[in-house]
Each structure stands twice: as structure tokens, then as C-alpha cells.
């Protein structure tokens, strides 16, 4: 199973983190820092896999963002690489040519998409259609909910 997934930028800014086992905040921060350092130091032609602590790290860079997964000893590296790719495809489809800013400004959406795709570190569904259907349904519900608001009210000034 996947232990965690991190998205971080070339500059070492963490954009998304998902932990599939209970981990103390302190340890999370330490692991993130350590792993970012290791991955950012690697050169383009190097393999996408490395051993780190007792985990296998599988990572891939998409434009300015690194997608980095930690999986267990018996997990399959190549299929994990495609888990990352499928997630990127889902984001791309949803946001329409996704970029780092989409994930920054709509972080909650990125989490929702990930939750529809992976639960507890395992794949829930690999079909792009099924996952996006679930998200779009939610968006429809949202649009029905929302009545327009004034800009001032939005900014908390009203």
C-alpha cells in the first residue's frame, strides 16, 4: 500500500500531502524535509525509484511539480508510477490543463479528487470516467447550493 503522497515544487514548497498511516506531525515534517532534499538533488536521467528508510520512493516530475509516493517493499514501482500519472490526468481533466497554481488555489479540490482515486493508500477505481463522475456530481450539487454573493461580502467586509 502507499504510505504517503507528496506534491512539491522545484523550490521545495509542499503543495499537497496525503498520509495513509497515522504519523505524528513532527515526523511528517521531518520526513517531508528529508525526502524533498533527496529527490530535488536527483538529476533528470536518473531512475524514478529509490530506497529510502524502509520504503520505496517513486517520483516523477511534471512541469514545476514533483509527485512523490512512498510505497512498501512488496509494491510494484512501475504501477505506482502510473498511479501518479493517472492522478495527474485526473487533475488535468478536472482543471483543464492543470498547473501548480490550480492546486494552490483549489487545494481542497485536489484532495477531493485524490480521495475519489485512492483510499487508505490503495486504488479505489482506475477508470478516469468513474472518478471524474463522482467529482462532477459533487460540483453540480455545489452549484445548486450556492446563491451569488457580493464581492464585498466574500471578502468579509460586508
Amino acid at each position: 500500500m502507499m504510505r504517503f503522497m507528496l506534491l512539491f515544487s522545484r523550490q521545495g514548497k509542499l503543495r499537497l500531502q496525503k498520509w495513509y498511516t497515522a504519523t505524528a506531525e513532527r515526523d511528517k515534517k521531518k520526513m517531508v524535509r528529508e525526502l524533498m532534499q533527496v529527490v530535488l538533488a536527483r538529476k533528470p536521467k536518473m531512475s524514478s525509484f529509490l530506497e529510502w528508510r524502509d520504503l520505496k520512493i517513486v517520483y516523477k516530475r511534471y512541469a514545476s511539480l514533483y509527485f512523490c509516493c512512498a510505497v512498501e517493499e512488496q509494491d510494484n514501482e512501475l504501477i505506482t508510477l502510473e498511479v501518479i500519472h493517472r492522478f495527474v490526468e485526473l487533475l488535468d481533466k478536472y482543471f483543464g490543463s492543470v498547473c501548480e497554481l490550480d492546486i494552490i488555489f483549489n487545494f481542497e479540490k485536489a484532495y477531493f479528487i485524490l480521495d475519489e482515486f485512492l483510499i487508505g493508500g490503495e486504488i479505489q477505481d482506475t477508470s478516469k470516467k468513474s472518478v471524474l463522475k463522482a467529482i462532477e456530481q459533487a460540483d453540480l450539487l455545489q452549484e445548486e447550493d450556492e446563491s451569488p454573493r457580493s464581492v464585498l461580502e466574500e471578502m468579509g467586509l460586508a
Partner: protein, 974 residues
């Protein structure tokens, strides 16, 4: 600010995120965040009830702030409120907040569980999925308790929507992993297994993770899944690339599900049913065949997905290890990948081949790729790939190619990355030993290893070479010659000096016939390195020198001069000084025979498993070391696996042990002073026999008279005096109290009565200690037959604590005189009871027999450990199992003065940590107990309550007995 994409309305959030991004400095960001936090706090506290939308927006902002890495300590309640909203997006944000920021607040958990319960029973699939995601994300025990019964029902119910089934399966998996005892599958087992047949591929994909986990834990109950998995796999493998619609990924049908099915089958042995097995073998062959077909797409995703299945199939073939044909095909396939232009494939092929190498069917096939692998080791640009290549070379090594592989590894070591050098050194050392046909090759290899990568040669490695040389006399001469040559290099590694010193000290005589390596030349060569070496190496060299005096009497004058020089005999390091003094004395006093006995060649080492192998296993984890030493003939171990006690200490240990024995055996000689621990021997050499005469005389004296004397004297034990070989008296009733006095101090008067005073001074370093005992005769009459023994009661046998008098005391103690005795102490593992000291002597004819507890307590082996507050609390948390903690609450029996408390805590041996405990009244300490077997980290917290005159003392350590013992000891101190 980019255009917000779809269906989103939280502009306030976007503005806030924008602001944060525009902050020029960390300070500005913190300022902006604090402003926002204050704003949100006031909104949440405000009188005006917030509508759902605002609540959602603020909760989302808090979440954003938390994900930036800041602490959030409020908002949980508002998030929980959102859970019961009817609006999907509000509920969704509420769940997200709870998933990311769970709080173990029990009141909150109850509310959350309530909301989840409502959603689960709402029959609204979107709500049900949200609730299931939340359970899976949190996965706590409380949630398992509340929902582990309900979820299997949802999973197998006929009317559950597919999407809900998928979430339920994985949610259940998460709960099972976290609290297996709470998830009872029993009645659901068969229906869960049959999810493998579900029409919906998504349901199968999700369910198979659950089934795999359950099968690996309860293979028998789930074994029906094997045939279902095989038929499902067969259908996928034989389907055309478009059959599975959206489950086809870049022209590969259901790659995730295929991998999972192959993984599930690895929980079981090959199917027994011939038809099932045939079908499976067919699948595996098809997968291997497909690897040879031209790709259907140039995209890397296509080849990755295809190869993911291929590697998983190869794992299954290796797991079965019963189909030679498939194994060899797998090996050939991997061989192709070894030269693939994709780094990822080369990496995986090397990794996978490692496991193939251990199968008897494919070992030879793997070996044919040796040149490619060696080439990979030399030319790969990625260190993680090179690491894999080194692993594979290690795995494919056997007698036929050992010399080639070891040579390649050695030459690679010269330029190897620092990160993998130590492991490479261990591997070379193991291979060289395992496949050594002639031991001169072995010695050459290890010396080369030290020459090339001396810094990475751990103790285990150089201990091992010495051990093998000592145990095999056919290689000793060669070893002496080779180290002698190696030492001639102008700059050689300190490890080389250690090996050289040891081997020449033992076997230098074997090459002394050659004038180019005459004794003096050997000595001068060694001594030319002396000043560049660290203290332990110098100590070893001093021992080599004294061995030289024995081997080559002609070097005696030169060596004595060296020992006598101020830099040795007055060396500021106690160990070196003591060795210099003792060896000098030994060489000048002892006769040649005595010297020859004391400094005899080291006996062969006991045969045990190589500690190098153990070290590599530890480094790589079990299973990673496939090479086992085949024959046990050289399995000696120098160091018993501990971090101390290599040849260095063995050397001296054997030396002092010989002296010890020798002291006992040769009474007439002035040997008592050999160790130079006392400035003057109080009694002449004839005294012992005189003493035993006296014993005889007095033992024949009437028992009545002496026992009367004893009875008169209430201080003394009432043992009948008739036999000098009397059993030691039981410890004095006050001995526990006396022992407690020394828990926090090392020096003082241990015992005193009208006749005798016993003082002690002790010092401890790591797991070793030395205790000086001073016996003072307070009377004006001599004590005769004075003897002392130490013993370890009950469990405290010699394998726990080793106590050794460096010499016996003289049997006569003149009136008013004080005699001294030294005990060397080695703590092998942790212990509870203190050892006993028994003193017997006759005073005016009456036998005095006193037993005391020797104040050797486990805390004496503490090494203080300084650490920062954060470290302390992290470790404290790590030691949270109930048995790791010992606690006592007790009344103060002394004053509660701060300085006194501090002094006692320092005396305990731990480091007193300042500014760690938030309450300045409390004390926290940390230390590591050093025993030969292991190190036990200990954390301590003492909370005084001045008002109540009470203390609470809490100890945490990795070992329950240690926590309890230290707690008991310390509780008596305040």
C-alpha cells in the same frame, strides 16, 4: 489570481491565498496568518450565528493555514457542525478538515461518529462515500469500534451502489490494518471473496486490496480466492486491448487489477488443481510473450503498465520457484532489460534478478549476465542503479566467480559513492571469507579493503581477519609478512596499524628470520605509526610491545626504554599510563618463564557466526542477505557481537586474566605487586604461607571461646568460627540501606563497626567499572586469615555482571593498617540484585563473617545524554507502551532543596536537562545505560510537590526491567 475553475464560490479564500503568496518574507506571512486567525476566531466567537457558507469558508482557511505548516488549535467544533449540514460542499469541507486535523478529543469523536453514522444510514451514496472516506482517512481505534461491524454489511449488501462498495472495501481494509481484532470477517468471508467475480471492474479493483491483505493474514479461510483470481486474470490477459473500455490504460487491459491479482496469488503456493494451474501457467506465458511483441504505443505509460504486469508476473514465478522453464524465460527477459535505455527498467531488472539468483533453477542463468552487471557497476550514472548492481553481484557470487566479483567490487570501491561504501566493504569481506579457498587470498583481500576504504572498515571486519588468522595456523606466516609490507606504506590507515600490531605481536616471530623484517625492524616500523594513532590503537600497540619482549628478548631494552619515556609512563590517558607502568614492571620483574606464560599466544577463538553477516543483515534487513556462510569451520567471533570487546580488549583481557591466574599460582614470588596498583606490598612473599599457618592454628582453637566473643559483639555476625571455609554469612539486614546510600554517589564509607571500616571509591566508564575497596583495621590487633570474596546471588550470574578482583588481599591486616583491593566490573546485561561482598577474618581467634551488598547498581552504567526539549518529548512519546514506564508516587523523606535534588539526579549518572519541562519545578533527565549486550535509553521525570511533600517519579526506558529498577532505586533517594 487565476480564474477559479469550476463551481467554486469561496472568493474570500482565494483572496487570502493570494495575500499569502504575495508576502515577501516569512515574517510578513506569519503576520498575515495571525491577522486571519484573529479574524476567524472572532467570527467563531461572535454573537452573530454564522451561516453554513461562512463557516465552510473559515474552516477551509484554517485548513489552508494548517497545511502551510502552522499549528491550528481551534475550529474543530465548527468543522464538526459542518458535517451535519445538508449541503454537500459544506459537509465535504467538514470531512476534509476532520480527516486532516483529527483530534483525539473524546467529546469531539463522539460527535463526529454521530455525524458519520447519520451519513452512512442516509442511503445517499455521495454522503455515504464521504463518511467512508473519513473513516478510512482517520482510521482510529474509536472509529473501528464504532463502525467495524457496519461496514462489511454495506460492502456485501445487494442494493449497495458500486461506488459505495468500493469505498467500503478500502475503508474496511484500513480499519483491519489498524485494529485487526475489531474487524471480524467470519460470516462475510465467502461473499467478500466473490467480489472478485463482480461485474464492475472498479469494485474488483478496490476489493482485491482488501482480499489480498486478509488472505496474507488468514490464507486458509480465503483460499477459494485462488481459482477466482486465476480465472479473472486469464480473462483480462486474453482480452483485446479495447475490451475493457475505460479500464484499459494506454492499450494495456486493466494493468492495476492484473498486478493486484498476481500479487494476491503470491500469498499462496502454486495451485494444486491441475486445471487452475495450467490456466495460470498459460497466463504467465502470455505475459512473457507479450513482452516480446512490438509496443502498441510509443508512450512511456504503455510500456510502464505492460512491464508492471511483467515484473509482477516474474515475482510470482520466483515466488513459486518450481517452473524451471518460466524461471529461465524470466531471467532472459530481465537480461534484455539490463541493457534497456530506460533507467527505470535497468533498475528494476537488477533488483528482480537478485531474487532470481537465489533460485537453484535460475542461478546459472543469472550468472551469464555477469559482464553486463559489472559494466553497470562501472558506468551507471545513477547511484541507486549502481547500488542495485552491487547487490546483484553479491547475490550471484559463488565459488566459480568469487575472485572476479571481489576484484571488481574492490576496484569499484576506490571510486564508490560514500553512501554505499560501508555496505560494499561488508559485502566484500563476507564474500572473501565465504569463498576463500586459500586464506592468503582472503588476507590480501581484507588488507586491500583496509587500504582502499579504511574509514569504512568497521570493527567487525578487522576483528574477523584477526580471528581467522589466529584460528588458522597455515596463514599466520603469510599474514605477518603481508601486514609487515602493508605497514611500510608511508601513510597507512589506522585500521591497518591495528591489524598489523595485533598480528605482529602474535606472529612476528614467523618472519623475524629475514633480516629485512628482524624484530627491531618490526618494532621500529610499528612504533613509527604510534604517535599518529588514537588512544585505543596506542593501547593495542603497547600490548603488542610487551608481546614483543616475550617473543624477542633482544628488543627488551629498546621497548623498556620506550615504555619508560615520559610520554608513556606519564601519559595523561589513564589507560595508556597504566599499561605502560604495568608492562614495564612485568617485563623487569617477571622471569622468562613467567613472561612466556603470561604472554602466551592467543588461544583460538570460539566458532560462531560471522558478526559481519549480522551487521549486513542489520543494515539491509533480514532477507536481503541471501548468502549464508556454508561451513562453520571459521565461524569464530572475536567480539561476541557487542560494540566493545574486540581483539583490542580481548588482548588485554587475556593478559590480565593470565596475570590474575599467575598471581594466584606463584605465591612465593613478589608477584602481588605486578599490576603496580599499590605502591608497596605490605607483606613479604612468605606471608601467605604464614597466613595459612595461622589459619590452621586458629581453626583448631576451641569454638566456645570464639563464639562467645562473637556473641558479645553485637556488630558481628554470629557465625561459628570453626571453619575458615565457612559459607558466607547472609547479607546484613542494613545492607540494603547501605546500598541505597551509594546509588547517587561513588565514594564513601560503605560499612563500619567497632573493628572494621570499609571504604569504597569507584569509577565507571560505559559498561565497565573499577571499584577500590579499602579495608581498615580499627583495632590495634592484627586480623588474620583476612579474605574477601564477591559473588553474584541468584540471577545475577556471571553472564550478567562480571566481577574480578585484580588480586587477593593479604591474609594479615596489621592493627591500624589499611589494605586495598580492586575489583574490575563488567556489566554484560541489565540486572536488579546487587552483588555480595563477603569478608572473613579472625580477630582474637573469633571468626568474623560479614556479608554486604556491593553498591554496584544498574544506574552506575549510565552515560548522560544531553538533548533538546523537542527530542526529549519525541523520545518520551516513543516509549509510551505501558510496560516501558515505571512510576512511583512517594512522600519526601528528606528536605526538598533544589540543589540537593539536582546533585542527586546528576549523581544518578543521567544528564539533567534544563528548559525541557514546561514546569520549571520539575526535573527531567536522560541517559543511556551501557551494558555489553545492549544500550538502554532511559528518560526520567521527577515532579516534586512541595506543598504535599510528595514526589512523583516517572521512568521510561526501552526495557521494562530497567525502568522498574531505576525507579525503585531512585525513589529511595529523596
Amino acid at each position: 489570481m487565476p480564474a477559479v475553475s469550476k463551481g467554486d464560490g469561496m472568493r474570500g479564500l482565494a483572496v487570502f491565498i493570494s495575500d499569502i503568496r504575495n508576502c515577501k518574507s516569512k515574517e510578513a506571512e506569519i503576520k498575515r496568518i495571525n491577522k486571519e486567525l484573529a479574524n476567524i476566531r472572532s467570527k467563531f466567537k461572535g454573537d452573530k450565528a454564522l451561516d453554513g457558507y461562512s463557516k465552510k469558508k473559515y474552516v477551509c482557511k484554517l485548513l489552508f493555514i494548517f497545511l502551510l505548516g502552522h499549528d491550528i488549535d481551534f475550529g474543530h467544533m465548527e468543522a464538526v457542525n459542518l458535517l451535519s449540514s445538508n449541503k454537500y460542499t459544506e459537509k465535504q469541507i467538514g470531512y476534509l478538515f476532520i480527516s486532516v486535523l483529527v483530534n483525539s478529543n473524546s467529546e469531539l469523536i463522539r460527535l463526529i461518529n454521530n455525524a458519520i453514522k447519520n451519513d452512512l444510514s442516509s442511503r445517499n451514496p455521495t454522503f455515504m462515500c464521504l463518511a467512508l472516506h473519513c473513516i478510512a482517512n482517520v482510521g482510529s481505534r474509536e472509529m473501528a469500534e464504532a463502525f467495524a461491524g457496519e461496514i462489511p454489511r454495506i460492502l456485501v449488501a445487494g442494493d449497495t451502489m458500486d461506488s459505495v462498495k468500493q469505498s467500503a472495501a478500502l475503508c474496511l481494509l484500513r480499519l483491519y490494518k489498524a485494529s485487526p481484532d475489531l474487524v471480524l470477517m467470519g460470516e462475510w468471508t465467502s461473499r467478500v471473496v466473490h467480489l472478485l467475480n463482480d461485474q464492475h471492474m472498479g469494485v474488483v479493483t478496490a476489493a482485491i486490496s482488501l482480499i489480498t491483505c486478509l488472505s496474507s493474514k488468514n490464507p486458509d479461510e480465503f483460499k477459494t480466492c485462488v481459482s477466482l483470481a486465476v480465472s479473472r486474470l486469464s480473462r483480462i490477459v486474453s482480452s483485446a486491448s479495447t475490451d475493457l473500455q475505460d479500464y484499459t490504460y494506454y492499450f494495456v487491459p486493466a494493468p492495476w487489477l492484473s498486478c493486484k491479482l498476481l500479487r494476491l496469488l503470491q500469498c499462496y503456493p502454486p495451485p494444486e488443481d491441475g486445471a487452475v494451474k495450467g490456466r495460470l501457467v498459460e497466463c504467465l506465458e502470455t505475459i512473457l510473450n507479450k513482452a516480446q511483441e512490438p509496443p502498441k504505443s510509443k508512450k512511456v505509460q504503455h510500456s510502464n503498465a505492460k512491464n508492471a504486469i511483467l515484473f509482477e508476473a516474474i515475482s510470482l514465478i520466483i515466488h513459486y520457484d518450481s517452473e524451471p522453464n518460466l524461471l529461465v524465460r524470466a531471467c532472459n527477459q530481465l537480461g534484455q532489460f539490463l541493457q534497456h535505455r530506460e533507467t527505470n527498467l535497468r533498475y528494476l531488472a537488477l533488483e528482480s534478478m537478485c531474487t532470481l539468483a537465489s533460485s537453484e533453477f535460475s542461478h546459472e542463468a543469472v550468472k551469464t549476465h555477469i559482464e553486463t552487471v559489472i559494466n553497470a557497476l562501472k558506468t551507471e550514472r545513477d547511484v541507486s542503479v549502481r547500488q542495485r548492481a552491487a547487490d546483484l553481484l553479491y547475490a550471484m557470487c559463488d565459488r566459480s566467480n568469487a575472485k572476479q566479483i571481489v576484484a571488481e567490487m574492490l576496484s569499484y570501491l576506490e571510486t564508490a559513492d560514500y553512501s554505499i561504501r560501508e555496505e560494499m566493504v561488508l559485502k566484500v569481506a563476507i564474500l572473501a571469507e565465504k569463498y576463500a579457498v586459500d586464506y592468503s587470498w582472503y588476507v590480501d583481500t581484507i588488507l586491500n579493503l583496509i587500504r582502499i576504504a579504511g574509514d569504512y572498515v568497521s570493527e567487525e571486519v578487522w576483528y574477523r581477519v584477526i580471528q581467522i588468522v589466529i584460528n588458522r595456523d597455515d596463514v599466520q606466516g603469510y599474514a605477518a609478512k603481508t601486514v609487515f609490507e602493508a605497514l611500510q606504506a608511508p601513510a597507512c590507515h589506522e585500521n591497518m596499524v591495528k591489524v598489523g600490531g595485533y598480528i605482529l605481536g602474535e606472529f612476528g616471530n614467523l618472519i623475524a628470520g629475514d633480516p629485512r623484517s628482524s624484530p627491531l625492524v618490526q618494532f621500529n616500523l610499528l612504533h613509527s605509526k604510534f604517535h599518529l594513532c588514537s588512544v585505543p590503537t596506542r593501547a593495542l600497540l603497547l600490548s603488542a610491545y610487551i608481546k614483543f619482549i616475550n617473543l624477542f628478548p633482544e628488543t627488551k631494552a629498546t621497548i623498556q626504554e620506550v615504555l619508560r619515556s615520559d610520554s608513556q609512563i606519564r601519559n595523561s590517558d589513564v589507560e595508556l599510563q597504566q599499561r605502560a607502568v604495568e608492562y614495564l614492571k612485568l617485563s623487569s620483574i617477571a622471569s622468562t618463564d613467567v613472561l612466556a606464560t603470561v604472554l602466551e599466544e592467543m588461544p583460538p577463538f570460539p566458532e560462531r557466526e560471522s558478526s559481519i553477516l549480522a551487521k549486513l543483515k542489520k543494515k539491509k534487513g533480514p532477507g536481503a542477505v541471501s548468502v549464508e556462510l556454508e561451513d562453520g569451520k571459521e565461524r569464530g567471533e572475536l567480539n561476541g557481537g557487542g560494540d566493545r570487546g574486540g581483539p583490542n580488549s580481548m588482548f588485554t583481557l587475556s593478559l590480565s586474566l593470565s596475570i590474575f591466574l599467575f598471581v594466584f599460582q606463584s605465591t612465593p614470588s613478589p608477584s602481588a605487586d605486578l599490576l603496580g596498583l599499590r605502591s608497596a606490598a605490605p607483606v613479604s612473599g612468605a606471608a601467605p604461607s604464614a597466613g595459612s599457618l595461622l589459619v590452621d592454628v586458629f581453626s583448631e582453637a576451641g569454638p566456645a571461646a570464639s563464639s562467645a566473643g562473637v556473641n558479645d559483639d553485637g556488630f558481628l555476625s554470629s557465625a561459628p568460627p570453626s571453619a575458615a571455609s565457612e559459607d558466607p554469612a547472609p547479607p546484613l539486614p542494613e545492607s540494603d540501606e547501605l546500598l541505597n546510600k551509594f546509588v547517587c554517589k561513588n565514594n564513601g564509607v560503605l560499612f563500619e563497626n567497632q573493628l572494621l571500616q570499609i571504604g569504597i571509591k569507584s569509577e565507571y566508564r560505559q559498561n565497565l567499572g573499577r571499584m577500590y575497596l579499602f579495608y581498615g583495621n580499627k583495632t590495634s590487633v592484627q586480623f588474620v586469615s583476612f579474605s574477601t570474596t564477591v559473588s553474584c546471588p541468584g540471577e545475577l550470574q556471571s553472564h550478567i555482571l562480571q566481577l574480578l578482583f585484580t588480586k587477593t588481599v593479604e591474609p594479615l591486616v596489621e592493627g591500624g593498617a589499611q589494605v586495598q583491593q580492586v575489583i574490575n566490573i563488567e556489566c554484560l546485561t541489565d540486572f536488579i540484585d546487587a552483588p555480595l561482598l563477603n569478608i572473613k577474618f579472625r580477630y582474637g581467634g573469633a571468626l568474623q563473617n560479614i556479608s554486604l551488598k556491593l553498591p554496584v547498581t544498574i544506574n552506575k552504567f549510565f552515560q548522560p545524554t544531553e538533548m533538546a526539549a523537542a527530542d526529549f518529548f519525541q523520545r518520551w512519546k516513543q516509549l509510551s507502551q505501558p510496560q516501558q514506564e515505571a512510576q512511583k508516587i512517594f512522600k519526601a523523606s528528606h528536605g526538598m532543596d533544589t540543589e540537593v535534588l539536582k546533585a542527586k539526579l546528576l549523581g544518578l549518572g543521567t544528564a539533567l536537562l534544563e528548559n525541557v519541562d514546561p514546569n520549571p519545578e520539575n526535573y527531567v533527565c536522560a541517559g543511556v545505560i551501557q551494558t555489553k549486550a545492549q544500550q538502554v535509553g532511559c528518560l526520567l521525570r521527577l515532579e516534586p510537590n512541595a506543598q504535599a511533600q510528595m514526589y512523583r517519579l516517572t521512568l521510561r526506558s526501552s526495557k521494562d526491567t530497567v525502568s522498574q529498577r531505576v525507579c525503585d532505586l531512585l525513589a529511595e533517594q529523596f
